[in-house]
Amino acid sequence: MKRSGTRKIANVVALTLSVGATAVGLFFLGAILWTLLKNGLAGMSLQLFTQMTPPPGSAGGLLNAIFGSAAMTIMGIAVGAPLGVLAGTYLAEYGGNSRLAALIRFVNDVLLSAPSIIIGLFVYQIVVVPMGHFSAIAGAAALAIIAIPVTVRTTEDMLRLVPQGMKDASTALGAYPWRTTLSVIYPAARSGILTGLLLAIARVSGETAPLLFTALNSQFWSKDLNAPMANLPVDIYLFAQSPYPEWQQLAWSGALLITLTILALSIFARIVVSALQPTRRT
């Protein structure tokens, strides 16, 4: 055994480094938020929400991009979330430990961490190429595919938290599993499923890479789902790399909007979860 002095020094050094590492992590979160607030707030005005994205070198807003992002996110979630909830229900209530369920769980986990740019290429191949042009529908499809694994995962986890006793009680009353699921399990897991939905929206609304080659971008107000549609992430990408100060300012404002939305959704999701399970660490 080493001398106790050396051991104590090693201990203090290691623990100090650990606190230092935490400080570094928190510093970067702070630095990013600070930059966003500083640069983003400068461009916050009513104009941002009432005007279209401008041509280079003139002032404007982000109205069409905000609308496009909201529209594609809503469409993506409207398609992806119900599918995800159903699949999660299968894994929690019917799949059990079967090999099929294990395989689906594994594949879902892989899709959850798969690079989103791959999903963009996939949707390009199966939607954009056959249609012959970029469109809001393709963008929404890409977002739906990204939303599915998130909802599958959270739904299964949340349904598993419903006490077995409640399911047994329902079965004892003569209910078939589908009745039990719809009338007992879903209501009991309501806030958990809502959390999954919020996390899916948070995940989807910042996605940029898959929109680059699906929805592309548009400088104009467009409600046509069959045409390219403006959206915040791609506008941030394009405007930030441009040499025009007006565009760069819009990029910062858009970045602040997106980040605040996503952080608010994530925090709200956490609050919902902790209300659901007061004793559990979230």
């Binding site: 992590g25 689906i104 961490s113 996939f122 910042g206 680059l212 992430p233 910062w252």
Partner: protein, 324 residues
């Protein structure tokens, strides 16, 4: 009501229930199988799109550095190199930091601070990658250019051997900058998996070690870490999977140059950055197909890494992992 009627009602009710069961179970099963179909669909669609490039360049696609849209000669070596190098540097930086954060959260942190710090780390994970990109381009890269890179060139650049890594002018953007932004991005992912893994270590093991007179560090290094080794490696692999596939943050700061430089200060490119930059502008079928072929390579690499990660993390309580 005679018995027959009662039975009639009974069986009609039961029939309805059975029908409902079939429909509902069928719907959930279909949705679940759709997850498998998605993965299959991605594989088939990408391979189909990449086929012309693979058929045309054969193995040379993997071994050549040339990337020339004009002469339609494409090789993936530079993007592959960039992807691997940025991810490795990112992991070298992120692993020790994540380890530090996770032991702070599980072994040192006072209870009242645990929740806020844990949440902050998870919020860092929620920040979209485009934000890291724009921050990296306008804030982080200039700081590196002014303060860090000149020092590296002056001090490490003159050393024999590793000096070759730190040659050339301080551009700000380049392989090293992209790797460091990646490190900050994957840090919270690895840290939260490690934290969850460490929390599965039974307290009685820690207490026994403390009872024998071990210091906190000895408990971590000799008890907690060996016990949770598989999960820790799984968390690292998960972070690596993310680093390999990360697109927007890298695209902003790597400089997008199709060449392999020995210096990490020089601009380079990665698979995902090349696709993001060039895909919408790719004219010509072979160009387009080559970019999809890059996507196939990325898909194969990340699939292997993520699968390994998930297999290692399988034993971990699924709930503990959250939606990482």
């Amino acid at each position: 009501m005679d018995q027959a009627t009662v039975f009639g009602i009974e069986s009609r009710h039961a029939a309805r229930q059975r029908f409902g069961e079939r429909v509902f179970k069928g719907a959930t099963l279909t949705a679940a199988v759709l997850v498998l179909v998605l993965l299959g669909g991605v594989t088939v669609a990408l391979l189909t799109g990449a086929w012309p490039a693979f058929a045309h360049f054969k193995l040379q696609f993997l071994t050549r550095q040339i990337w020339n849209p004009v002469t339609e000669k494409f090789g993936a070596l530079a993007p592959i190199y960039g992807t691997v190098v940025t991810s490795l540097i990112a992991m070298a930086v992120a692993i020790p930091l994540s380890f530090g954060i996770s032991i702070f959260l599980t072994e040192l942190c006072p209870a009242w601070l645990k929740r806020p710090v844990g949440t902050a780390v998870e919020l860092l994970a929620a920040v979209p990658s485009i934000i890291f990109g724009i921050w990296g381009l306008f804030v982080f890269a200039p700081v590196l250019q002014r303060h860090v890179q000149p020092w590296l060139i002056a001090h490490l650049g003159t050393l024999p051997g590793i000096g070759a890594l730190f040659q050339g002018p301080p551009y700000g953007i380049g392989v090293l900058s992209a790797a460091l932004v990646l490190a900050i991005m994957v840090l919270p992912f690895i840290a939260s998996v490690m934290r969850d893994v460490f929390e599965t270590v039974p307290d009685v093991l820690r207490e026994s070690a403390y009872g024998l007179g071990a210091t906190t560090w000895e408990v971590i290094w000799q008890v907690v870490l060996p016990y949770s080794r598989t999960g820790v490696v799984g968390g690292i692999m998960l972070g690596l999977g993310r680093a390999l596939g990360e697109t927007m943050a890298v695209t902003f700061v790597i400089g997008n140059a199709h060449r392999i430089s020995s210096s990490v200060l020089a601009p380079g490119t990665t698979i995902s950055a090349t696709i993001a930059n060039e895909f919408t502008e790719a004219t010509g079928d072979l160009y387009n197909s080559s970019l999809i072929a890059l996507g196939v390579l990325l898909f194969v690499i990340t699939f292997i890494v993520i699968s390994a990660a998930r297999l290692m993390l399988r034993r971990l309580d699924r709930k503990a992992l959250g939606s990482v």
